[in-house]
C-alpha cells in the first residue's frame, strides 16, 4: 500500500477540522480540535521544497525556450510549448500558496475562537441577525449611514460582570457604502462623469442603559442627530466631543467630572468614538477601530505544544476589556446608591 503524501494528509485534516471548528461552542470542544491536531505528523507544516525547486526549474526552462525560439526565429509551436511549460510550473506553485494560506487562516480562526470563548463571547448565527438589528436601525442614526448600501457583517453576543453592575451586550460590525458622482475635466476641456462608491466600516457595542435617554456624545456624528447643544466644563472634552440632548439637564446630570475624564481617556484609545443613548434605554457605542476583538497567536501550529499552552491560558482582549470597564464606570456614576 502506497504511503499517503504528508501534504495531502495535512490538507485533508485542516479542511475536516475547519468544519469542526465552526461548530465549536465551548473550550472542551476547542481542546478536542487540538487533540486531533496532535495526532497528525509533527511539526504541522507543509513541505513544498521539492515542488518549489521543480516549478522554478520549469519556469526557467520555459523562459529559456521562449528566448531561444525568439533568437533563432524558430517555429511558433515552440512558443506554445514554452507557455504550456510555464503554466504547468505556475499552477502547482499557486496550489501550494493556497494551502499555506489555508493553514494560516485556520490557525488564526482557532486562536480567535479561543479568544471569544475566554471572554464570554459567542457569534450569532446569520439567521438571528434581522431580529436583533431591526430595532437598532430604528433607534440609532449610526445605522442610517450610507446612501447606497448598508449591512451588518458580524454580530457577537457577550456578557460582562463588574463589581456593581452586570450586563449583556452585542458587538457589531457595520459596513456602508456612499455613492457619489465625480465630475472631471480633461486637458481637452471634455467633461466626464463617473460614479464612485466609497466603502466604510464602523464597529461598536450595544448595551442596555436605563439611566440616560436621548443623549448623543459624538466625535464623528451621523446625520439625523437632534437636540440642544451642551458644552461641558472641560475644554479638552469639548474639543473632542459634541454633545446633544433632548434636555440639557439630562446631559449635565450624566456628564459628571469622572464620566468626562473617562470618556476623554477612552477617546484616546478609539478613533471616531460616538455614544448614543436611545429613547428606549439602549446605549450604542461606535468607533472606527477594527481591532477590538483582535488577538494574535504567539506561534503557529508547527509549535503545537507552545500553541496549546497559549490556548490553555486566558486570552485577553485589552481594548474590549477597557471599553467595558468604561461602560461600567458610566453605569456606576449614573445609578443611585440609595
Amino acid at each position: 500500500m502506497a504511503a499517503i503524501n504528508p501534504n495531502r494528509q495535512l490538507a485533508q485534516a485542516i479542511s475536516r477540522l475547519q468544519k469542526q471548528l465552526n461548530q465549536v461552542a465551548d473550550k472542551t470542544a476547542l481542546m478536542a480540535v487540538l487533540e486531533q491536531l496532535a495526532l497528525l505528523p509533527q511539526p504541522i507544516r507543509y513541505s513544498f521544497k521539492q515542488r518549489a525547486y521543480l516549478c522554478s526549474a520549469g519556469l526557467l526552462l520555459s523562459l529559456l525556450l521562449a528566448v531561444l525560439t525568439y533568437q533563432l526565429q524558430s517555429s511558433v509551436v515552440l512558443y506554445y510549448a514554452a507557455a504550456i511549460l510555464a503554466l504547468c510550473s505556475v499552477v502547482p506553485l499557486l496550489a501550494a500558496l493556497y494551502h499555506l494560506q489555508q493553514l494560516k487562516r485556520f490557525t488564526e480562526h482557532l486562536y480567535w475562537k479561543n479568544a471569544l470563548l475566554d471572554n464570554n463571547l459567542s457569534e450569532l448565527a446569520n439567521t438571528d441577525w434581522p431580529n436583533v438589528t431591526r430595532s437598532w436601525q430604528q433607534q440609532f442614526a449610526e445605522f442610517r449611514r450610507g446612501n447606497h448600501q448598508r449591512e451588518f457583517r458580524q454580530l457577537i453576543r457577550g456578557h460582562f460582570s463588574g463589581a456593581e453592575h452586570q450586563f449583556s451586550y452585542h458587538y457589531w460590525h457595520f459596513h456602508y457604502v456612499n455613492k457619489r458622482t465625480q465630475v472631471t475635466t480633461n486637458s481637452k476641456g471634455q467633461v466626464q462623469t463617473r460614479t464612485v462608491y466609497d466603502h466604510f466600516d464602523r464597529y461598536g457595542l450595544i448595551i442596555p442603559f436605563a439611566y440616560c435617554r436621548d443623549l448623543f456624545v459624538t466625535s464623528f456624528a451621523a446625520d439625523g442627530i437632534t437636540g440642544e447643544r451642551y458644552t461641558s466644563d472641560s475644554g479638552r472634552f469639548n474639543k473632542i466631543f459634541q454633545v446633544r440632548a433632548a434636555e440639557p439637564m439630562q446631559a449635565a446630570r450624566f456628564l459628571k467630572p469622572a464620566v468626562i475624564v473617562a470618556l476623554e481617556q477612552q477617546a484616546r484609545q478609539l478613533k471616531q468614538l460616538n455614544l448614543a443613548f436611545s429613547h428606549d434605554g439602549q446605549l450604542c457605542i461606535s468607533f472606527a477601530d477594527n481591532d477590538m476583538l483582535q488577538s494574535k497567536a504567539p506561534c503557529g501550529l508547527d509549535q503545537l505544544a507552545q500553541f496549546r499552552h497559549s490556548i490553555e491560558q486566558p486570552t485577553a482582549l485589552p481594548k474590549l476589556s477597557q471599553l467595558l470597564a468604561t461602560v461600567h464606570q458610566l453605569l456606576r456614576h449614573s445609578d443611585s446608591n440609595f
Partner: protein, 187 residues
C-alpha cells in the same frame, strides 16, 4: 498697491489680536467654570454629612474623633467660594476628607455588623464616587489651567496679554492624596 498691502497686513494683525484676546478670555472663563465645578462637587459632601453623623453616633469609641473631623470638613466647605480660586483651602478640605475617611475605616473595623450593613455600604460607595468626581473635577480644572497658562505665555499671546488682557498665571491644584483616589488610569 503699497497702501493696499499695508492695509491688508494691518487687518490680518488686528484679526490675530482679536482672536488671541478672545482666546485668553475664553480660557480664563473655562478655568473659572472648572473651579466652580470643583466647588460644586466638594459641596456634594454636605449632603452626606447628616448621614455620616447618624452613622458615627454608633461608633461610641471613635465618636469624638469622627465628629471633630466632620466639623472640620463642614467649616472647610463653607470657606470654599466659587468666585475665588483658592487652592489652599481646597487642599485643606481634601485633607479633612481623607482624615475623616481614614477615621471611618478604622472605626468600622470595631463594628463588623455595621460593615455588613447595606445602608453603610451604600453610603461608603456614594462617598467613594464623590471622591472620584472631585478628583476628576480637579483634573479638568488643572487641564483648563494648563491651557490658560499656555495661552498667556506663548508668543505672540504673551504680547497681547501684557498689553491688553493683563491676566496672570493661575496655579494648578496639587494634592497627591486626592489624585491617588482617582481611579481612571487606563493603560
Amino acid at each position: 498697491m503699497g497702501l493696499g498691502i499695508l492695509i491688508g497686513i494691518v487687518s490680518i494683525v488686528l484679526i490675530m489680536v482679536v482672536v488671541i484676546y478672545n482666546g485668553i478670555i475664553t480660557r480664563m472663563n473655562a478655568v473659572e467654570r472648572g473651579w466652580a465645578n470643583v466647588i460644586t462637587q466638594e459641596r456634594q459632601k454636605n449632603k452626606m454629612i447628616p448621614h455620616l453623623e447618624q452613622v458615627t453616633e454608633q461608633f461610641k469609641q471613635h465618636e469624638m474623633g469622627l465628629q471633630s473631623s466632620i466639623a472640620e470638613l463642614r467649616s472647610g466647605l463653607a470657606r470654599l467660594q466659587p468666585g475665588t480660586i483658592d487652592t489652599a483651602t481646597l487642599q485643606q478640605v481634601e485633607g479633612s476628607t481623607q482624615k475623616l475617611l481614614q477615621g471611618l475605616t478604622v472605626a468600622v473595623e470595631a463594628y463588623p455588623e455595621l460593615k455588613a450593613s447595606e445602608i453603610f455600604n451604600n453610603l461608603m460607595r456614594e462617598i467613594a464616587e464623590q471622591q472620584e468626581n472631585i478628583g476628576a473635577a480637579i483634573r479638568i480644572f488643572n487641564q483648563n489651567v494648563e491651557d490658560f497658562n499656555n495661552g498667556i505665555e506663548v508668543f505672540p499671546n504673551s504680547l497681547v496679554n501684557t498689553l491688553l488682557n493683563k491676566k496672570t498665571r493661575v496655579t494648578p491644584f496639587h494634592d497627591s492624596e486626592a489624585e491617588a483616589g482617582f481611579e481612571y488610569k487606563l493603560k
